[in-house]
């Protein structure tokens, strides 16, 4: 079973944080998916000639299937254009402008029925980023960009302990990534919803947890259960059996969760990933076991 909605991940971060460098690296990663990237400044995209299949005035096609485009004057309409492309890419990355609130962009993927929220990666300059938070003219805007992140990608060096503490205060549940491969692992938790194919080990920085059973939920109960999921889970996906002919497709990133009705699946399958340092899969087991038990009790009361 596939989720046909286009996932969109927003790459946020203040001017000079290193978003373009990250995007350059992401484009070069070996891709299991056709990635499309919308960037502000086309000139800054710097790809080895050997990787370029074709280049136009505002579009670059790579041999690994990735496409990079400028967004022009209107980001949202550029996203609409991507949705109208045939074939659609497998995943859309949007480079937020250096002053944009990434959440306001990510909300579009929540609103648009043909898309799903692929999360927010905020890029932070490990060396100079903390100075931005001390500048009264821009601190609030920078703080806003960090506070909505699901994953913080640290560019240029390592943040000091004090900076790290501040970051964790601003966004307690975000994971930290240090390589482009770790960002790819976050965005790439595939379109394919069958949990079994993902049984192979995730990127070494991540751990994953999965469950397969015949648990049944109504939408409200499922939402409640998923709201209580361990905070270290960065992405969760799968399908869950409902009543009668209807089941549920689950897509969660950070603390947001999307539940859509689908034809009743054979069994309930969930897969979650999180960064090793933040996620203890034991907690996932406990959480899911408790969720099932609580749900059974509620069902008995009805």
């Amino acid at each position: 079973m596939r989720d046909r909605r286009l996932p969109m991940t927003v790459i946020g971060g203040f001017l000079g944080a290193g978003k373009t460098t990250l995007i350059n690296q992401l484009l070069r990663q070996p891709q299991g998916q056709r990635l499309m990237v919308l960037v502000n400044d086309f000139g800054a995209i710097n790809i080895d000639a050997a990787l370029i299949e074709s280049a136009g005035a505002d579009m670059l096609s790579l041999t690994n299937g990735c496409v990079c485009c400028t967004m022009g004057g209107d980001l949202f309409m550029a996203i609409a254009d991507v949705l109208d492309r045939h074939p659609r890419p497998d995943h859309l990355l949007v480079e937020a402008s250096g002053v944009a609130d990434p959440q306001k962009i990510a909300n579009a993927a929540v609103a648009e029925p043909e898309m799903r929220n692929g999360g927010i990666v905020s890029v932070i300059d490990g060396e100079n980023g903390s100075a931005l938070l001390d500048d009264p003219q821009i601190a609030d805007q920078v703080r806003g960009q960090i506070s909505c992140a699901n994953l913080i990608y640290v560019s240029k060096g390592k943040p000091g302990t004090e900076f790290l503490t501040t970051l964790k205060e601003i966004v307690p549940n975000a994971g930290f990534a240090h390589t482009a491969a770790e960002v790819t692992a976050f965005t790439e938790l595939g379109q394919d919803l069958s949990v079994r194919v993902e049984k192979n080990a995730p990127h070494p920085a991540y751990v994953q947890w999965s469950a397969t059973d015949d648990a049944q939920f109504d939408a409200k109960g499922l939402r409640q259960a998923l709201m209580n999921r361990p905070t270290g889970i960065l992405r969760i996906k799968g399908f869950v059996r409902g009543a009668g002919a209807t089941g549920w497709l689950v897509q969660g990133v950070g603390r947001s969760i999307d539940i859509t009705s689908i034809p009743q699946p054979q069994e309930t399958q969930l897969l979650a990933i999180g960064l090793k340092e933040n996620l203890n899969t034991e907690n996932c087991h406990t959480w899911w076991r408790d969720a099932l038990r609580r749900h059974d009790e509620l069902s008995l009361e009805d």
Partner: protein, 544 residues
């Protein structure tokens, strides 16, 4: 040699200090060759054609609108449902609507005219001014339960839609989306806030803001609006300007009967400062009589009424957090540095006084590094909260200002009550202080944010009255003569075009505003009631 045309008028207000008034002006090849009385063209030989069409009118130099947007023309493809009276590019009057009921009445009338498959889209709605229940899907469902209807708010950040439109996206009781406003029963009210919630509907209705600016229709509508307002030179003050846009603008404006000189100012976005500078230089190679490239626009902060302008202490009176930078201070410095070095004029949008302060700082720093060009004439646009100290610094640095006089009328009451309070609202758009500091001053409409109409803009700067009749800081009033100067030579100077337009002077382009009354002879309170009969652009007559 081409013929000379002698226009006769009831009176000509030239704005040229050496010859302030006349009755006749002679034109050849689109340029002024003589100004004076009935004999002024005699020395140009016998081959003078007399044109009496304007003999009952008062002529002024064609007005120069130094801050408007092309969208002012294109937005009229949708139905106007705003609170204020407006006139569309085809000279049709659209009375302002004062209640949700009046809005639905107008929509119903439009609904009956539209083909079945077309959605009904309206614009200009502003609930701030309306009493009674807030517009919601129930009102719009009464217009049509089947045809999707979308009412865009005047700020373009919100819309209200009917049930058929909600159904197009699938917004319903299950929807949990930020910006999809819900009622007590958890059903969407029809109001959608911010682009993320609006865009799924916009793409299904084919509403694309990009198509409101650079299209043939928009350019022609922009030209017709200009004729109605007496404007012959107008900026598009944040152009995107792709190669296709350039070709289109060249095609449209090169036609003999295009009535407007457009000054498209490239938005400084989407590239390094050096790349933007290079782009604007390339564009300037394509300059023609009716198309003038060469400047860039920096959009530094947001708007005061949206609480997104960057303001200095004590900030907003409601305790709202300070606004947002569209370009952060460090980047403003980088851009100013490169543009000054490259000799490119900048228009810097700065509404709040922290934003204007940062702009002035950045230009001062750039000038220390790159003193030439001396006559850079960088413009602070809006500059709504600038005080005397900032104006004095601008004057010393060779900057000029274009203040948003229309705001006093449209948003003045809100500024007193909701944004910055009466002390600072009283000295908003401080035209008097700007002139007293020795600055070149223009005043503007920011159309379509407020309607294009230089005489109304002058009225605002002269009377400083709000919609409720309150006078905001009468000490800041301009005289009529000063306001008329701001519409003509003042604005021309902010575009570095005063050697070509802005006064009726021999050698300049024959651009005139054709008026029904003499602005120098009506009461200052009546400036806004002067009928505009049309324009003469490059010697060609356009009557409304």
């Amino acid at each position: 040699m081409n013929k000379v045309t002698l226009f006769q008028a009831r009176r000509i207000v030239t704005m040229d200090a050496f010859q302030p008034h006349a009755t006749h002006v002679a034109v050849q090849n689109g340029k002024i060759v003589a100004v004076g009385d009935a004999q002024c063209a005699d020395r140009w030989g016998q081959d003078v054609v007399r044109d009496d069409r304007l003999r009952d009118a008062v002529l002024m130099p064609g007005f120069v609108e130094g801050h408007a947007h092309l969208m002012a023309g294109g937005i009229w493809r949708y139905t106007y449902v705003g609170y204020h009276d407006r006139i569309d590019p085809d000279s049709r009057a659209w009375p302002g609507l004062t209640s949700a009921l009046e809005v639905t009445d107008r929509l119903r009338a439009q609904h009956s005219l539209l083909p079945a498959e077309q959605p009904l889209v309206a614009w200009g709605f502003d609930p701030v001014f309306l009493k009674g229940e807030r517009l919601n899907r129930h009102h719009l469902d009464q217009v049509s339960p089947d045809r999707p209807i979308a009412v865009l708010f005047s700020n373009l950040h919100l819309m209200c839609v009917n049930s058929a439109a909600l159904a197009l996206v699938g917004y319903g009781i299950e929807t949990l989306v930020e910006g999809v406003v819900k009622d007590a029963d958890d059903f969407p009210t029809g109001e959608l806030q911010e682009m993320a919630a609006m865009f799924p509907l916009m793409r299904r209705l084919g509403v694309d803001f990009r198509n409101l600016a650079q299209t043939e229709d928009s350019l022609h509508a922009f030209g017709r609006l200009a004729v109605q307002a007496g404007v012959t030179t107008m900026t598009d003050l944040f152009s995107t300007l792709t190669d296709d846009d350039l070709t289109l603008m060249q095609d449209v404006t090169s036609a003999q009967d295009y009535p407007l000189r457009i000054v498209p100012v490239l938005g400084a976005t989407g590239g390094l400062p050096e790349e933007i500078a290079a782009r604007v230089k390339t564009l300037a190679e394509h300059n023609s009589d009716k198309l003038r490239f060469g400047a860039v626009k920096l959009l530094t902060d947001g708007s005061i009424q949206g609480w997104t302008a960057r303001v200095r202490a004590p900030g907003y009176v409601g305790g709202q957090p300070n606004g947002l930078w569209n370009i952060p201070p460090a980047q403003i410095h980088d851009l100013c540095d490169v543009m000054q070095r490259e000799g490119i004029q900048m228009h810097l949008h700065a509404n709040g006084d922290e934003a204007s302060e940062v702009c002035i700082d950045a230009i001062e720093a750039a000038l220390r590094k790159h003193p030439a060009p001396v006559d850079h004439r960088h413009v602070i646009q809006h500059g709504q909260m600038m005080d005397e100290a900032q104006f004095r610094r601008c004057a010393e640095l060779g900057m000029v200002v274009n203040l948003f006089a229309n705001h006093l009328w449209y948003f003045g009451d809100q500024h007193v009550a909701l944004t910055i309070g009466d002390e600072r609202a009283n000295r908003m758009d401080a035209c008097r202080s700007a002139l007293d500091s020795g600055l070149v001053l223009a005043i503007h409409s920011d159309a379509p944010v407020t309607p294009l109409g230089p005489l109304f803009t002058a009225w605002c700067a002269v009377n400083r009255q709000t919609m409720t009749g309150r006078v905001l800081g009468q000490e800041q009033r301009l005289t009529v003569a000063e306001a008329l100067y701001a519409l003509t030579l003042g604005a021309a100077k902010t575009l570095k075009m005063e050697h070509e337009v802005g006064s009726i002077t021999v050698g300049k382009i024959a651009d005139f505003a054709v008026l029904g009354k003499d602005p120098e002879q009506v009461a200052p309170e009546a400036l806004c009631d002067i009928p505009v009969l049309g324009t003469v652009a490059s010697g060609k007559v356009f009557l409304t």
